[in-house]
Each structure stands twice: as structure tokens, then as C-alpha cells.
């Protein structure tokens, strides 16, 4: 399959089951909602070293938020419900509670995970509970007024690790194509791209020559190792970048991948893009397989 001069590999992305939640972060204005949400989703690129993968799903208008203020929907993904609960509490406690004028609400129904349930103890006994419309909220007194936080958020089963690789003539071309992909993918609801700017340059393979490491650089896709290893790159490929996708459902991941690959193909060979591929483990580890050609069909 060749689209606009870009070869689409006959391969698939392999993804895994994860646990996820959506949290709505609001503030006095969008600037401070972004401050809280970006801080909360910082250092959340990969579950390998960060405990969770997180990102901003989309902006919310005041009509869409529980408190009628500007806000953002944030998605968090973790490998287990226990880890998700830990990450939610830490990140909301350290990054949202601390952020001026912020408030946090559940953005999804599901198995309850503590949101303000434990953070309320920061109120040192002065916290107040309010049950409104069957949902419990905590009012925690803080130095700029009150931190309003819903008691729990919902946890759902989700899909993490959808991906595709953009192979281009050089780093600038690969990055421009990926940026176009991220622009398109950020409009898809229910999915986030957790790496910096949504883009990964350090794709990994399973295992390492060093016993302590479970993963190491994906040498087959490193252009500077061409000739030294069993490379997956043709001579005209000078750089490879990857986009990793976590979604609330398989469909969300598929939709995001489709939007992203199509945007990359729109850049096309004229923009230096040569191939689009995807990462997998032979299909034996992850239950979700996203075949590139099927997605684009």
C-alpha cells in the first residue's frame, strides 16, 4: 500500500489492556487550568518509569465543566487499578490541589477510584463534604479559598500502547510529519499521546545486553547503526519517530491512529516521508492488534 508516495508496511501495532480514568481539571481561566493539567500530566510518558501515562485529552468550555469554568479533560493510564489509584492521588494532590484556583472532578463513570477521598485530610478537620445530585464533593480550605474536589473518579478498562513509526529522510522531515499527525490526533476524543509533544524518538526493543535493563534502544530503527545491525531501514531513511497512543477503547486508539497516519501521508513523499510502520512483539504479548492497512482501508 502506497499513499501519496508513502509506503504503508503490512504490519500491526500491538497494544495492551490498561486501567484508565478521566479527570476534569478546572480553574479561574484556561491558562491556570493548563498549568494544573500540564503539571499533573508531566513525567507521565511511560508506565515503565513514570507509574502512569497521562495527557490532556481536550479543552472544555465552561458549559462542559461541572463548575462552569474553563477546564481540561485529562486521561491517566496505568497497568493496574492499584497503581492508577496511587498515581491519581499523588498527581492530583501534588499538582492540582497546589495549583491556584483549581478544582478537580470525575470525567468518566466506572469503578470508583479515590480522587478527593483522601486529599480531603489536607483540610485538617476543616474540610466539608457536600453531596450534590448524588455525587460527593469535598471542600478543602486552602490559602486562595477552597479546593473543590469530587470524592471519586471512575476507572475503566482501556487500551495502551497503540503506535506507529514515521520513517523519513531526516529528523526535520520526520518531526514535521509527526507534528502534523499530533495536530490531527489531538482532535480525537478518548485518546492521548503521552510522550513529549506526543512524539517519541527513543523507540525500544525488549531486552538488553545489560542484565539490569528490560528494554533498550530499537537498534533496527537507529539510522546511525545501519550497517552494524540487522537494520529495518532502507538507505533513504535518515530518521524515525514514533507516536504512541493510549485510548479509552480500542476504537479510540484506532481512530487516533487513522487520523495520525493519514496526516503523515498528507505530508507525503514530497515532505520527506518514506514509510509508515508499527511496533509489535510478534502478536504474542498484547491482545489488541491494529493493522495499519486495515485501519487505513
Amino acid at each position: 500500500m502506497i499513499l501519496n508516495g508513502v509506503a504503508i508496511d503490512a504490519t500491526f501495532a500491538e497494544a495492551f489492556g490498561m486501567r484508565a480514568t478521566r479527570i476534569l481539571v478546572t480553574a479561574l481561566n484556561l491558562k491556570w487550568a493548563y498549568e494544573a493539567a500540564r503539571t499533573m500530566t508531566g513525567f507521565a510518558t511511560s508506565v515503565i518509569g513514570c507509574g502512569c501515562e497521562a495527557g490532556i485529552e481536550r479543552e472544555l468550555t465552561p458549559d462542559e465543566t461541572p463548575d462552569g469554568r474553563p477546564g481540561l479533560a485529562v486521561l491517566l493510564f496505568a497497568v493496574s487499578s492499584k497503581e492508577l489509584a496511587k498515581q491519581v492521588e499523588r498527581r492530583v494532590g501534588q499538582c492540582v490541589l497546589t495549583s491556584p484556583t483549581s478544582a478537580a472532578f470525575s470525567g468518566i463513570d466506572g469503578e470508583p477510584v479515590a480522587l478527593g477521598r483522601n486529599l480531603r485530610f489536607f483540610g485538617d478537620g476543616y474540610q466539608m463534604s457536600k453531596v450534590i445530585g448524588g455525587r460527593r464533593y469535598w471542600r478543602v480550605p486552602v490559602m486562595d479559598g477552597e479546593f473543590l474536589c469530587e470524592e471519586t473518579t471512575g476507572m475503566v478498562r482501556a487500551v495502551g500502547g497503540g503506535n506507529f513509526l514515521v520513517l523519513a529522510t531526516g529528523p526535520a522531515e520526520a518531526l514535521a510529519a509527526c507534528e502534523a499527525a499530533i495536530d490531527a490526533m489531538s482532535k480525537v476524543r478518548g485518546a492521548i499521546m503521552p510522550f513529549p509533544g506526543g512524539i517519541v524518538r527513543s523507540g525500544s526493543k525488549v531486552g538488553s545486553k545489560y542484565k539490569a535493563l528490560g528494554a533498550s534502544t530499537n537498534d533496527a530503527y537507529c539510522p546511525t547503526l545501519r550497517g552494524a545491525v540487522d537494520t529495518a531501514l532502507s538507505p533513504d531513511v535518515g530518521a524515525v519517530l514514533e507516536i504512541v497512543i493510549d485510548g479509552l477503547t480500542e476504537t479510540d486508539v484506532r481512530n487516533a491512529m487513522r487520523a495520525g497516519v493519514k496526516a503523515v501521508c498528507d505530508v507525503g513523499a514530497a515532505g520527506g516521508v518514506r514509510r509508515v510502520s508499527a511496533g509489535n512483539y510478534g502478536g504474542k504479548l498484547g491482545p489488541f492488534h491494529f493493522h495499519l492497512r486495515e485501519i487505513l482501508a
Partner: protein, 276 residues
């Protein structure tokens, strides 16, 4: 399918305990079964047939009581689900210990509306007596969930010992409003009598008009914009009906901490929009 309709035929000789007439109890009963239900009246037992004409269909998720008067006590007591519409007035203990469903009293209600209730909604379009959402004498907790909306005025000690839930009063409230409250929310759009929040431990007393005198055991915490009031206002909008009377709810209030004689963890909020 409006459910059975019970029309009071005559003035009962004494107060009638109507707690046996809830949609849960009437579910699955035929008209004849309903006519045979016994109701306590003083030390006597009267059958529904002695007091009411029964009409309507067999859909028992709702019940209408027509020509009601203040001798009907405990209407909707302990009901779990469904709806009761009372055309007329009600005696005491409307929705006593209620757990779910909705009661609408189109007239007035006597004391102890929603006493000890745990869920559901009670709407009284007229005035209500003392101890709305309060506790039975001797009980340590009053209302423990649900909502009560009073369209008219309420008597003394609204929300006495209230533990959870919401009481909304469109008119005035009597003395000691929110007395000994443990938690929950009371909103009064009209004026309140003396000593509001007397012995209030936790919870929120939101008054549209300042009381004649703020009790000495409530201390001024200044003017604030409280976000939870926006959530309340949006909730009222979503609920519609009687709740609409409390919209818009300004989130800018003057906060008084109290009752400091009983810990001071509660609050009296004075609405500023109608305060100036």
C-alpha cells in the same frame, strides 16, 4: 396510567396514620385489596373504604390523595420509591423515614416534614410546620439524605439534628433554623427567625437575607466566592420544577464560621446579591 386515586370522603374523626398508603405497599394490590387496608385512627382501626373513594388504574408506581386535610398524618412514611401527590393539606410526619421516591403536597403540611428521611424528594407547595427535616424527639439524627423543598414558609427548628441532605425554603423560616445541625445544606430564600444555626456543628446554612442578629457564636470570615454554590445552582437547574425557584444562586457570599459553641466547623452563608 396515573395510579390509584384516593379521595377523602369525610373529615376523619381523629388523626389518621396514612403510612400504609405508599406506592410500595399498594404495588400489586387490586382496588378491593386497597379498600380493605386498615389505617390507625387513635385507638381504632378504620378501613380505607370507610374514609376514601378509590378510583384510578392499577399502575401503582404513583398514588394521588385528593381532598386531603391535616388529619392525614405520616403520608408517604418509609416509602421507598414511586410518587405520591397530595391534593390538599397534610398532617404531621409527611415522608417520615422516607428512603426514596417523591412526595408532592400541593397544600400545607404540619410539623416534622421529612423527619429522619434518608432519600427521595418532598415538595410542599404551601407552608410547613416546625422541625422540617428534623429528628424525632429522642433521636440523635434528623434527616439523613434526600431533598425537601418548601414553597411557602417553614416553622421553627428547620433541620434540627440534620445529618445529610438538603432543605430548601422559598419563604421564611422560624426560629432556630438549622439548630444542632450535624451536616447537610439548608437554604432559606426568605427571612429567618432568631438564633439561626443554634448549636450547629457542621453543615451549611445559606440565608438570602441576614438574620436580625447574627448569633454571637458565629464569627465573620469575610466575603468569598464558593465554587460549590455554582454546582448547587447547576444542580437546581437540572432538577427543575420546585428547585428552579432557587436559581440563580449567587456563589458570592459572606461566610460566618460557627456555631463556635459547638466546634465551629459549620457555616452560615449570607447571600450578597439580596443582601445589599
Amino acid at each position: 396510567m396515573t395510579g390509584p386515586c384516593l379521595t377523602l370522603k369525610r373529615t376523619p374523626p381523629q388523626t389518621i396514620d396514612a403510612s400504609a398508603l405508599t406506592p410500595d405497599i399498594l404495588a400489586g394490590k387490586s382496588r378491593e385489596d386497597i379498600l380493605r387496608i386498615e389505617l390507625l385512627s387513635g385507638n381504632r382501626r378504620l378501613r380505607v373504604a370507610d374514609l376514601f373513594d378509590v378510583s384510578g388504574d392499577d399502575a401503582h408506581s404513583s398514588l394521588t390523595i385528593r381532598a386531603s386535610m391535616d388529619r392525614l398524618a405520616c403520608v408517604g412514611a418509609r416509602m421507598q420509591s414511586g410518587a405520591i401527590t397530595v391534593e390538599g393539606d397534610c398532617g404531621p410526619y409527611v415522608g417520615l423515614g422516607m428512603r426514596g421516591g417523591k412526595i408532592v403536597v400541593q397544600g400545607a403540611a404540619a410539623a416534622f416534614v421529612g423527619c429522619g428521611m434518608r432519600g427521595g424528594t418532598i415538595e410542599v407547595r404551601g407552608n410547613a410546620g416546625d422541625f422540617v427535616g428534623g429528628a424525632l424527639p429522642g433521636d440523635k439524627q434528623g434527616m439523613r439524605g434526600g431533598s425537601i423543598v418548601i414553597g411557602g414558609n417553614a416553622g421553627d427548628r428547620v433541620g434540627d439534628h440534620m445529618r445529610r441532605g438538603m432543605i430548601l425554603i422559598a419563604g421564611d423560616a422560624g426560629a432556630h433554623c438549622g439548630s444542632r445541625m450535624l451536616a447537610g445544606t439548608i437554604i432559606v430564600s426568605g427571612r429567618v427567625g432568631h438564633s439561626p444555626g443554634f448549636g450547629l456543628k457542621r453543615g451549611t446554612l445559606l440565608l438570602a437575607h441576614p438574620p436580625a442578629q447574627v448569633p454571637a457564636t458565629f464569627q465573620d470570615a469575610g466575603e468569598h466566592e464558593l465554587l460549590f454554590l455554582t454546582l448547587l445552582s447547576k444542580h437546581f437547574e437540572r432538577e427543575g420544577g420546585a428547585f428552579k425557584a432557587f436559581v440563580p444562586l449567587s456563589n458570592r457570599v459572606r461566610r460566618y464560621c460557627g456555631d463556635l459553641a459547638t466546634g465551629g466547623k459549620g457555616e452560615m452563608l449570607l447571600g450578597l446579591s439580596t443582601n445589599t
